[in-house]
Symmetry: D2
Subunit: 461 residues, 4 copies
C-alpha cells in the first residue's frame, strides 16, 4: 500500500481536513502503540508484585514497542482478531520465559478500551482543548477590542435595540467557556479497566487476592482510574459524555460562524473574513468575497453533530457486552478530529478578522428613529402611564404611515403629553441619542471576558 | 373544547403514557402559571427597591394568579403573541396604578425562558429524579438479593465465564447511579434571566444602576441564578446538558430492559416480568407471556433519544436570537415526561420481578466443561507454559470433536503434563468446580451497591 | 377525565399546533374506529366465503362501530392488551353465534398495522397532501407573478449575479413538486396484512385453502394490498418511506422559510409576512415586525426531522417481531400532523405575502457595477482572451481600491482593449445594463410552473 | 506524504473497512478525474455547436486527463479554491487558443455537483448494487434450501407458533428486494446541472440561444439529465433520496444480522458464522465462537444510519446556495462505502453459513405442547364455541400449573367436550402433530423468492 498518498483516501478527515498534530493519537498505528503501552504497564505491575521478575518486565518494556502495525496486521490475517494478533507479535519478540506474562489475565477489551480512553484523553488535552482555548482567547480579544463599538442588536433578523459588537462576541466567550469546562471535566473522567472477560476479575483473581488493586495500579501507570463497575467493556457513559461535550462546543462554534456569515452579507457588511491576495472567490464570478471558512465550519458541524446518535446507540450492549460497538466505536475519534480541524480554520480567520465599524454605525442609523419605542414605553410607564406599551405601539404604527418620526408625533400627542413631561431630563436624553441606549453592554463585555479568563486558567497546562 | 377526553388526543404522552403527577409542570396551563410566578417576582423586587409600592406588589401578587389559561388564549387571538396576551390579562385584573409595573423592563423571553427552567427543574426534582432514585433502589435491592446467584456471563450472546446475577444487575446500579448524578448536576445548573430584549439590560438600566443585581434578586426569588451572559434568550447549553443527562439515563435503562427481555427468551428463561391474572399475552396465542414492559420501554427510548438532535440544532440562534427555537422548544418537556412514564412502568415490573435461579444454574451447567479454558490457560501460564493460550485453544477444538471433556483430554496430554502438575492443588479445585470461577462477583456487587447508595444519598430530599 | 381542555395537554400538537381536521385520523379514538373497520371487513369476507352467514356479518357490521374508546380502555384494565380489549368489547355487543367470528384467525398486529396504514393513508390523501398541493399552487402563483421582478442572486449570502424573484420562488415550486410526487407514491404504497401470528398464515390456513386470497380480499375492502411478505408485522420499509417523503417535503419548506426570513431582514427587506392590526411584535419593543411564522415553521422542522431516526431504528425487530416498535410507533403520526400544521400557517402567510419590488431593485443597484465581472470575463474569453477570468479578477480588485468602476478601468486598460473591441455591440449592451443579465430566469420560471402544474394534476382528487 | 500507509489514516473506511473496488469512485483523486470528465464534455459540446473548433476540443480531451491531483492541490495553495485550481491546471496544459474554452460559462458547482452525481451513480451501479444483488441471491438460496426446515416462530423473543427457517429468511429476501428497487430507482434519478452561478443560465445565455439544450447535451454525454430547476447547486433531494435508499437497505441488513446473532446464542444455537481454523474467538477465552461479523455489521449501521440527519440538514441552503453543504457533502460517499464493506463481509459469512436443523427441531420440541393453543382456539370457535380464546387461555394457565399437557386437560374438560367432538378428524391431526401447523410457510418462501428473482432481474447488467 505504499506509494499511497492522501488523495487516495475517501474520508475528508484523511486528506482535506487532516490534522497532522492528531496523528500520534488517532491513526490506527497510534492505536496499536497505545495498546502496547497498556500491555507494558500490566507487566510492570506484575513485576512490582513479584508475579514476574523485574528482568522479564524490562524485556517486555524494551521489546514490545518494537512491534509494528504492519506486523500486527500480518498476524491478524491468521487470527482474525487484531488484539490477539498484537499479543502474539509481542510474544514472538520476547523470550519464552517472558512470553507467558504478556497479556496474562487481561481480555482484549481491557487493553483496547483503556488504550482508547488514553488516546482520546491525550489528544484532547494536548491538542483539541489547547486549540479551543486559543480560540477562546481570540474571542476574548475581539470582544474587548470592540466592547464599545455600537451595533444594532438583532432579534428575528430584525433590528431591535442597540448593543455593542463586543457584547455580541462576549456571548460566544461565555458559551464556549462553559462548553470547555464541560469538555475538560469529561476528559478528566475517561475511565480504563482491567477486570477481565466479564468484568468480574475472574482471571486476575487467580493471581491476586485484591484484583481491583491490581487494576488500579496498572491504570495509575497510565494516568487513569477505573469506573465503579465494568463488564467486558468500560461503562459507555464516560465516552458519551466526552463526545457530548465536544458536540456542545461545536454547537457554540456553529452558532458563531452562522452569525458571522450573516453579518458578512452584502447588505450588512459589518464583518468579513480576511482574504488571500491570489485567493479566488468564485470560478466564474471573479468579484466574489465569500465567507467560505464560516460556511465550511458549519458544514463540518452538520456532518459531525448527528454522530451523537451513534454514541447513544452504543450505550446498549447486551449482557456483559456484545461487539456491535466495535466497528462503530472505531469512528469515535472523528468528532474530535473534525472539531479540531474546524477550530484551526476559524483561528486563522480570527487572526485576520475584519470589523467594519463604519458600516455598523450606518446600519444602526437606519433604525435609529424606531429604536426609541422601547425606552419611550418604559419611561412613559415610569412616568405613570398605565398602558404605555400599547400607546407606543400605536404611535409606532402611526409613524410608519406618516413622514414624521416617532419623537415628533410624540411631541404632538396630547394624551401622552402629561406623562412625557414627567420624564426626567437626563432620561429624555436617551430618546434624542438612541446610540446611548445600550444598557451595560460594554461593562458586561468586560465582566464576561474577565470571568472566563479566570475560569479557564486552570485548564491551561 | 370541553367534553374532550384524553382519547381525543394525538400524542401518546397525552393519553396512553400520560403521567398525572407531571401535569403541574408540563401542561400548557402549568406553563402559564409559572410565567405568572415570574411576573409576580419582578413586582416583588420592584417593591423591595421602591420602584413600586408594597401595596401595588401585594395587589399584583394577589390578582395575577387568578388569570386563567383560557383568558390568555382568548386575548392571544388579538395579540398573536401569547406572552404579551398573558401580560395584558394580568394588567386587566389590576388597578391602573399597578398595571404599568407588570412586566416592566422585561422581554417575553425573560419570563418564558425563566419559567421553563423552573418547570423543568421542579418536575425533575419533585418527580423524575425521585422516581429514578426509587428505580435505582429497586436495582440495588435486586442486585444484593442475587449477589450469590450463579449465572453464566455472556459476551456476544455466547456463554463466556460465570458471574452472579447480582453482579450483572450491579452494572445498572453503577451506570444509572452515574447518570443520576449527571442529571442532578444539570438540574441544579438550569438558568434564568432578566436581561431584556437583547441581553444587554437596556431597559432595566433605565430603572436600576445595577440591573444585574435586579436580575439576580428576581431569579433568587424563583430559586434560580443567571448564566454569565445571555442574549434575548438564556444560553441554550444548560438545557442541552439537561436533556443529555435525561437521554443518558434513558440509554442505561434501555440497555437494562434489552438485557432483561433477552434473558426472558423462551430458551433462556432466567428472569420474567410478573403477569396479571387476566392479562392477555396475545390476541390469538393464548399461551404467550411476553416481556411487554421491557419492549415498551425500549420503544419509548427509540422515540425520545433522537430528540437530542433538536436540542443540538437549537444551539444555533441568529444574533441576539431568532425565534426558530420557539416551536421546537415547546416539545422539550416530552423527553422528561416519556422517561418518567417509562420508569414508572419499569418500577412496577421490578416490584414483581421473577428470577429463576434453577434455570440460571441449568444454563450454566450446559457450558460448564468449556468454561475452564480460561482459568486453565492462566494456571498453565503461571506454571511456566510459554504458549498456554494457544495450547488451550487447540485442546478446546479437540474436545469439541471428541466425546471427551477438556479435563480428560488435558490429563492425557503429555506435553501439558509437566505444567499441569505444577499447578497448586487449591487452584486446581477451580477446574473441577467451575461454578467457583466467579472472581469477586459477589463482593463487587456489594461494593457497588454500597458506593452508589452513599453517592446518591444527597440527591434525596 | 372530562372537564379536561386542550391546555391540560403536554404535547404542543394537542393544543397549540392541533389540527382539528386531522382528528378523524390521528386521535386514539380514531385509531379504535379504524381497527373496528378492519374487524368488520374480516367478517364481511367470512360471509362472502360462507364461513359465517350474511346475517352474522350484518350484525357485526352494525354493532361493532358502536363500541366506544372508553369501553375499550375500561376492558383494557383487565386484559392489559388493548387490541384484545377491543375484540372483547365487540364480542360483548354481538350474539353468541356471531361472537366467535370476531377477529377469528387474525392476530392483533394484523388489525393494528392495517388500521394504522389506513389512518396514515387517509389523512395524507384527504388532508396533508391537498394542503401541500394548495401551498404548491400558492408558490406557483407567486413565482409567475414575480417572474420578471429583478432580484440580485445571492450565493454565500453575497450578491452574485441577477435573477428574478419569481425564478427564486420557482426553485421551491420544483423541489416541493418533486417531494409531493414522492409522498403520493409512498402513500399509495402503504401496506396492510392479515397473515397471522408469525406471518405464515397458520391460523387462516385452518379455514382457507388459499389464505393469501382471503388476506387480499379483506385488504381490498379497505383499499389496501399486502406486501410480498410479512411477519407478525407489516414490513417496516413502507412506513419508513412514507415518513421520509414527509420529511423530504418538510426540508424543502424549511429551506423556503429560512430564505424568506433572511429576505425579511431589516437590511434586506425584500419580502415580508403580512401582519395583523393588533398583532404584537415584541412584548417590550412595540415597533418590531418579526417573521414569526417562518421561524415557527423552521422550529417545527427541527423538532420533527430527527424523528426519522426512530423510523430507521424501528426497521429492526427481532425474528417474527419484537414489540419494541409498539410504543415508538404510536408517535409516528406526529410528523404528518406537525407538517400539516406548519403548512397551514405558511398558507396563511402566502395569502398575505408582501413583496417589496422597489427594495429588490435598490439592493440590486448596490452591486450593479461589480456584477458585470462575470459577463465581461466570458465576453473577453469569447473575444479571444486566453486568461479572461484572471484578467477580470485583477480588474475587480483594482476597482475595489479605486474610485473608478470596472467599466471605466476596462476602457483604460490597453492589454484588454484588443479583446474588448471584438465583443459584438449587442453583447456589450449587457455590460451597460447589467439588469438585463438574468439569463432565462423569466422563461424558466414559467416553464417550471407549467411543468409542475401538469405533473401534480393527477394528485388532485 | 508518501511512505504513508493505510494505518496512518484515521477513518476506519480508509484502512480497516477500505474497499479497493470503490477507489475509482470515492477517493479525492477519483473526484478530480470525474470533474475533468465534465470539463471535457463541455468542450465537446462547444465543438459540436461550433463555439470552439474540433481540434481545440481534441486537445482539451487529450490533455485534461493528464492533470494530476497533486498538481491541483499545489495550485490550490494559491487559489484556495480547488475547483478553480483544477481549471487553472487544465489551462496550463493546453494552448493559449484552447485555454479560454476550458470551464467557459460553467460555475464550479456545475462541475462539482455533476461529477459527484456521476461518482455515486457509477459506484452504485458497478459495485454497491451488484454486491447487494449478490447478497440477495445468497439469501434466496438459503431461503429455498431451508424452506421446509421446521423452526419455532418467535415473537417478543418468546416461542409463538411454528414456521420454517426458509420462511424466516424469505422475510429478508422480500425486504432487501424492495430496498434494492428503491436504490436502483434513486440511482437512476441522480441529476447533473450546467446552469451557471445562480442557476438561471446567465453566462451560457451569452453563448447559446437555448442554454438548457446546451446543458442537456453536456449531461447526456455523461449519462445524466438535469432536474426541473437548479440554483447554483443541484436540487438536494435526489441525493437525499439516494442516501435514504442506502440507509433503508442497511436497516434491513441490520435487522437480519441482529436476528442471526440472536439465533447464534449459546442457548439457541440454530445457526452460526463459519469460523477460520486459526481464528481466535477471544484473547482470553480460547473456547469462544462469536458472531463477530454479524456484530460488526450492526455497528457499521449504527455509525452510518444517523448520517441521514446530515443529508436532511443539507436540504437547506440559503438563496441560490450557501456553501455550508460543501464540507458536509464531502462525507456523503461514506454511507455507500460502509454499506458495501458490510455487505462484503456478510457475503463471506453467507457463503459459509451454518444451519443446525437438529437444534431447530429440539427448540421447537420444547414448546410443542403449548403451541396448539392457537389452532385449538380456532378449531373450537369453528366448532361453535362462542368464547374459545378465553376458554383456551384458561386451559393453558391450568396446564402450566399441572403436570398434564393441554391436550389431556382438554380431553377431560366437560364444557369443551361438545365442541371438541365437532372438530373434523383431519383438522384434529394438527393438534397431535403441531409441527404440521406451519401454515403456508414453505409455499410462501418459494413464492417470495420467485417474485424477487423476477423483480430484480432488470437490475442486473
Amino acid at each position: 500500500m505504499c506509494g499511497m498518498n492522501q488523495y487516495q483516501n475517501i474520508s475528508p478527515l484523511d486528506f482535506r481536513y487532516r490534522v497532522p498534530e492528531l496523528e500520534p493519537y488517532f491513526t490506527e498505528e497510534a492505536g496499536m502503540k497505545y495498546q502496547i503501552m497498556v500491555e507494558v504497564a500490566i507487566a510492570k505491575v506484575f513485576a512490582k508484585h513479584g508475579i514476574c521478575s523485574e528482568d522479564l518486565y524490562e524485556e517486555i518494556k524494551r521489546e514490545a514497542p518494537k512491534v509494528t502495525v504492519e506486523e500486527i496486521y500480518e498476524e491478524d490475517k491468521k487470527t482474525k482478531h487484531t488484539p490477539r494478533a498484537m499479543v502474539n507479535c509481542i510474544q514472538k519478540r520476547v523470550s519464552k520465559e517472558a512470553r507467558r506474562f504478556v497479556h496474562l489475565t487481561a481480555t482484549s477489551s481491557d487493553v483496547y478500551d483503556t488504550a482508547n480512553a488514553m488516546r482520546l484523553r491525550d489528544a484532547t488535552k494536548n491538542v483539541v482543548l489547547p486549540n479551543l482555548l486559543k480560540l477562546e482567547k481570540q474571542l476574548i480579544k475581539l470582544a474587548l477590542q470592540e466592547k464599545d463599538t455600537l451595533q444594532i442588536g438583532r432579534t428575528h433578523g430584525q433590528h431591535a435595540i442597540p448593543i455593542t459588537f463586543g457584547f455580541a462576541v462576549s456571548e460566544y466567550v461565555s458559551r464556549l467557556g462553559h462548553a470547555l469546562l464541560e469538555l475538560s471535566r469529561a476528559n478528566d473522567n475517561l475511565k480504563g479497566q482491567l477486570s477481565g472477560a466479564t468484568g468480574s476479575y475472574n482471571a486476575s483473581s487467580l493471581l491476586f487476592d485484591d484484583p481491583e488493586q491490581f487494576e488500579k495500579e496498572v491504570l495509575a501507570e497510565l494516568g487513569l482510574s477505573p469506573a465503579s463497575h465494568s463488564t467486558q467493556i468500560v461503562e459507555p457513559e464516560f465516552l458519551v459524555n466526552h463526545t457530548h461535550a465536544l458536540t456542545l462546543a461545536f454547537g457554540v462554534i456553529a452558532n458563531f460562524v452562522r452569525d458571522m456569515r450573516q453579518l458578512q452579507r452584502t447588505e450588512i457588511g459589518e464583518i468579513g473574513e480576511g482574504f488571500g491576495k491570489k485567493q479566488v472567490g468564485s470560478s466564474t464570478m471573479p468579484h466574489k468575497r465569500n465567507p467560505v471558512t464560516f460556511e465550511h465550519i458549519e458544514g463540518l458541524w452538520k456532518e459531525l453533530m448527528p454522530r451523537m446518535m451513534t454514541l447513544y446507540l452504543d450505550q446498549t450492549s447486551e449482557h456483559q457486552r456484545d461487539l456491535s460497538n466495535y466497528s462503530s466505536g472505531r469512528f469515535v475519534f472523528e468528532v474530535a478530529h473534525g472539531l479540531d480541524s474546524a477550530v484551526r480554520r476559524l483561528q486563522s480567520v480570527m487572526a485576520n478578522f475584519l470589523v467594519d465599524r463604519k458600516r455598523m454605525k450606518q446600519n444602526f442609523e437606519g433604525s435609529k428613529s424606531t429604536i426609541i419605542a422601547e425606552p419611550l414605553y418604559i419611561l412613559l410607564a415610569m412616568a405613570g402611564h398605565p398602558d404605555a406599551h400599547e400607546a407606543v405601539r400605536k404611535l409606532t404604527l402611526k409613524a410608519e404611515k406618516s413622514t414624521h418620526e416617532v419623537l415628533i408625533l410624540l411631541a404632538k400627542d396630547r394624551a401622552l403629553k402629561t406623562y412625557y413631561e414627567k420624564i426626567p431630563k437626563k432620561k429624555l436624553a436617551i430618546l434624542a441619542r438612541p446610540e446611548k441606549y445600550i444598557g451595560i453592554a460594554s461593562k458586561k463585555t468586560e465582566k464576561v471576558c474577565r470571568f472566563w479568563r479566570k475560569q479557564l486558567k486552570p485548564l491551561e497546562t
